[in-house]
Every structure is written in structure tokens, then in C-alpha cells.
Amino acid sequence: MTTLLNPADTAATETPARPVRWWRRRRASADPTPVWLTIVGVFVALYLVLPTLIVIPMSFSEASTFVFPPRGHSLWLYRNFFTNDRWLDSLRNSVIVAASAAAIATVVGTAAALGLHQLRGRRSARFLQSALMFPILTPSIVIATAVYISFLRWHLVGTFTGYVLAHAALATPFVLATVTSALGTFNPTYLRAAASLGASPWRSFLTVTLPLISRGVATGAVLAFVTSFDEVVIALFIRSPKFQTLPVQMYNSVTVEIDPTIAASSSLIVVTVSFIFLVALLSSARRNRSGSTRPRRSVVRRTR
């Protein structure tokens, strides 16, 4: 129970006797972070990160079960991943589908973002923006089942086209979001300046708008690729024995047959994707720190 300051305390603090210990100094400071909070924080952080990271040591196991800790040290899982036809085929399919879907989503999404930006302020624009974000808000399973049934009728189940279309549609809202965000910081006066200097609307788009939103477009493209590459639920429903993606193969290796190659596959994905995102994060942080005199828009607000 905190007591209000009373004369006895003030008398005591006026005589500095021994050097102040670090834990006392912490308490003496106006607002130290409580120790218990830090402990809880560390615990939660571990909880967040451990399950994802644990696949990495698992991938070096010798055993052919899911036993942990992994027995022995071996690369046989990785070897299997890169030589087994089923794994290789699904990997190849995933990469090609993701690349194609990302390409389509980037073009479509960027165009949509530009269109909405030009139409901004109108009520129809705001409605359309929500409508186009709608796939992200709907549960995967609902989309997956509906798409599966319709694709059956359209003979798109288990086809490359089907996968690409579905994933492109799913990824477009992400590109839309990142490009819209990039356009948000885009100063419309630039376009007037370009016009006053003699650039036609098309030329000003090419020489001014596009370069300035290129970062948003690139981020959207990466996001679209990862979304497609990682996508499980829809992939599970529109697959066929002839055509499936890597996540489907991974799913099978747990449910249909016990195949610990999933460990190798998982760690590869975890490491690669983490690497890509960390690089992207660091490069944008570096770019913000150097050169730009415009204050960085802080996502994180600090309480004083």
C-alpha cells in the first residue's frame, strides 16, 4: 500500500549512506518496468516463437517418426525432399502457381488501387474498397467449399488454371492494401507539377506515380507470392491426385502417411520466408533512417 510522503521518509532519504543498489535504483526511478511483466513477456514471446522454430532442429532427425527430441543428426530428410518426386512436383507446382498468381494479383491489384485513388472521396469508391477487401475477411473454409463446388462445374478442379485463378483472387486484396497505403502518402501536387512541366497524364503516371509507389507494389507482390505459396485450405479442396501444391503434400504427410520430410520442408519455408521479411524490414528501416528528412510515420506510439 503506497503511503503518502511523511516526514520520517524525507529524513531518511536526505542522508546518502551506502551506494544505491541497482534494484533500489529501479524502484527509485519514476516508472520502471516491473520484473514480473518482463518475465511474462519473455514467456509469451517464447510461446509465440517456439512452435515455429522447433521444426528446424526436427528436420535434422534420423528417425522416421515425429518423436522429439530428434534422434541423431542426418540430412536424409532434406535429401528426400529434393529427390522424392511427389515432394519435388508439389514444390514445383507451388512455385509456378505462386509466381503466376502473384503476377496477376500485382497487376490487377495495382490497377484497382490506382482506380480507387482517382475516385477517392466518392461513396461508391469507399464501398468498392470494402468489397474488394472482402476475401480477406471471409473464412477460408467458406471460400474453399464454395469455390470447390463451382470449380467442379467449370472443370477447374485440379488444374493449374484453377489454382492460379483462385490464388490470384485471394492475393489481390493484399496488393490493393499495400499499394493503397503507398498512394496514401503520395502528394497529388506532384501530378499537377508534372502537368505544368509538360507531361501528359500517361507520362506523369509513368515518370512520377509509378516510381513513387514502386515500393508498395513490390511489397504487394511479395505478399501475394507468400500468400499463394502458403495457402492451404483452398488448395486442399481444389486439388487432384495429379496436381497439388506443397502445403497439400505437407498436409498429407501428417494425415495420410507419416512422413517426417515435412520437417525439412517446414524449416526451409520458415527460414526462407523469415529471411525475406527480415531483409525487407531492415532495408525499409535503413532507408527511413538515412536521407529522408520527412519524419517517418510512426506505427508505434509511445506513452509518455
Binding site: 501536387t189 506532384y190 507539377a193 505544368s196 512541366l197 509538360g198 516510381p211 536521407g291 528528412t293 520527412r294
Partner: protein
Amino acid sequence: MTIGISRSTGAADASEWAGKGAQIRLESVTKDFGLAHPAVDNVTLTIEPGEFMTFLGPSGSGKTTTLNLIAGFETLTSGTIRLDSQDVSTLPAHKRNLGMVFQNYALFPHMTVAGNIAYPLRERKVPKPEIERRVAEVLELVQLQGRDKHYPSQLSGGQQQRVALARAIVFHPRALLLDEPLGALDRNLRAALQLEIRRIHREVGTTLVFVTHDQEEAMNLSDRIALFHDGRIEQVGSPENLYAEPETLFTARFLGDSTVFALGNQSVSGTVVWEDERWAVDPATVAQRARGGGDTALVVRPESIGIARDRAQVPGGANAVRARVRDIEYMGAYRTLVLSVGQEGVSGRARIPAADKNYAIGDEVVAWWHPDAQRIVAA
């Protein structure tokens, strides 16, 4: 940071610029945004080739909209805009060949200074060696040589504005439009850049339209000022013209300080009556628009008002009125007495020498002026 008077080298070929200013004619130009009043209401104005014309006025007076209409960023509701004799009313902005400088500079952040300045030349397919020559030339004009490889984010506000200026003139536009270009700068920088703009205008000789709400800036820089009020042009004339011979109360109030006496509807020939004073009127000081009847006002500038202790000390033939000193402002070079004039307590300002410390707040004094120093304007 000082910006000295520059010396342009012989490389700046004056003949390239000479005769490049266009005449800008606004004929009954109206712009209506669908609100209660049109933003620009039936404006007719001719800006002469090579002239430094300032659009002055409070926010919302229509000056920026008019500039945007000239530039082509807004479409006319009605009326015509001509550049020289060409009707550009429906010509898209990127074909009008007008240079524009924006308040927030609008320098392309992804291009260097040289890249920004070269942009209009690249769009006009000017050959590369020519581009380099002209960019160097104009960088020298604005005194930013050596900065060509820098990015806008690495420059200060004043430097960015000079780059914006350079970019707007490098392609020899037939007129230069500046939309409150100095608004974002601090006072010292503003003063320095004002000099720069004046100098560049003299050297380049193109027609220049400058928009500002700062009357001191306008009076300092312009050949002529167009004072905007509620979408219309209140008065056009040289700075001296507008300051010494305002036609309306708005003009008298907007430029410089005034002490204002409302005269109501009375006749303005011979003498006028205000409260219990009778004042002589010099016919030459009655504004054109105040002659035809309607409400008028009598305005006097602070520098024309003298202060006396009592009526006996007022010079013969002067108009006088009693006043009480409400405040004294020390301005360094002079003092301003803020007065409460007459029974009504009209706010007045009188300028007295700085050394004159005879007056205190609360003193009852007599304010006086010669009839040729006052002006009767339409109210």
C-alpha cells in the same frame, strides 16, 4: 545563411529570354463549385507581357482558384482565358507551356535536383547536351551550382524553393505562376527569397503571376497588384496606387493600417460630419467609387496623423478629433499610439517619433490631419 546579389555570367544569353513573356487575358472568367457563391466571379483582367502581377487577398478570395484556372488545373465555368491571342480555355494544362511553382515545392523526391530541373526538357525531347547546358545555366541563375546531384530531401526549404523555381523556368515558359511559394518559410528566408524572385524576374523578363495573402510581400515585389475579395477583383493598380488611392474600404484596410470613420450616406462634397466634428474634404481625395452616392468612409493612414494636447495646438486647416490613448507600441524606429477616437471609441493608430515620450496611456489628446492626407472611400 546569406544569399548575396548574384552575378550571372555571360553564359546566360539574355536574347533567349527576351520577348518571351506572354500577355494573359482573363475575360469574364467565372468558376463555380456549386457552393453559395462562385469561387471566381466574372473576373476580367489583362496582365501585360513581362509584368510582375500579384494576386493579393484573404483566404478564400479566389486568387488561388484564378491562378489554377490560368494554369489549367481547373476548368472554367464560363469566360475565356487567352495567352497572347490564343484561347486556352479548354487547352489541357500540360499543353499550356506555363511554369508553376507550388507552395509545397512539389519537387519529385525520387529524382535529383538535376533530374527535377531536366524533367520538362526531357518531356519536350530536348537533346541531351542542350539539357545539360540549360540545367547548368539555370542552376547558376538560382545560385545552386554544385547541388545538381543532391536529392530534394537533402536540401533546406529555401533551397528546395529555388530548385522549384529553376525547374519552372528552364523550359522558357511564356509565363510563370507562383502559388504562395514563400508561405512555408521563416521570415528571414522569405525576405531573402523575395529578393531572389525579383532579381530572377528582372533577368528573365517573363510574365509573372504571384499569389499571396501577405500585403507587404505584394507591395514589395509587384509591378501591379490585383486585390481579390469574395471572388471578384476589388481593385487593380500599382502598389503606390492601391496604398495611396484605395477605392474601397476593403482595399484601404487590407493594405497598411488605417483609422476608419464611417460616414454613412452623406454627401461628400465640401465638408463631412462625423459625431460632432465637421471636416473639410479635398475633392481630389475622394475615390471614384465613393462619388456616386452610397455609404462611404473616411480613412487616414497612421503616418498622416499628428497628435496635439489640445485644439489650440492643431495647425490651421487641419481636420481634428478628440481621442484617448489606449496603448503605446514601441516599434524601434517610431512609436505607434493606439487611440480610442471620439465618443464611439473608433480604433485609431497614429505614428509619432520614437523620441517623443510625452504621452501616457489614458491621456486625452487631439488627433489631427491635413485634408489632403485623408481619403474618402466606398464602404
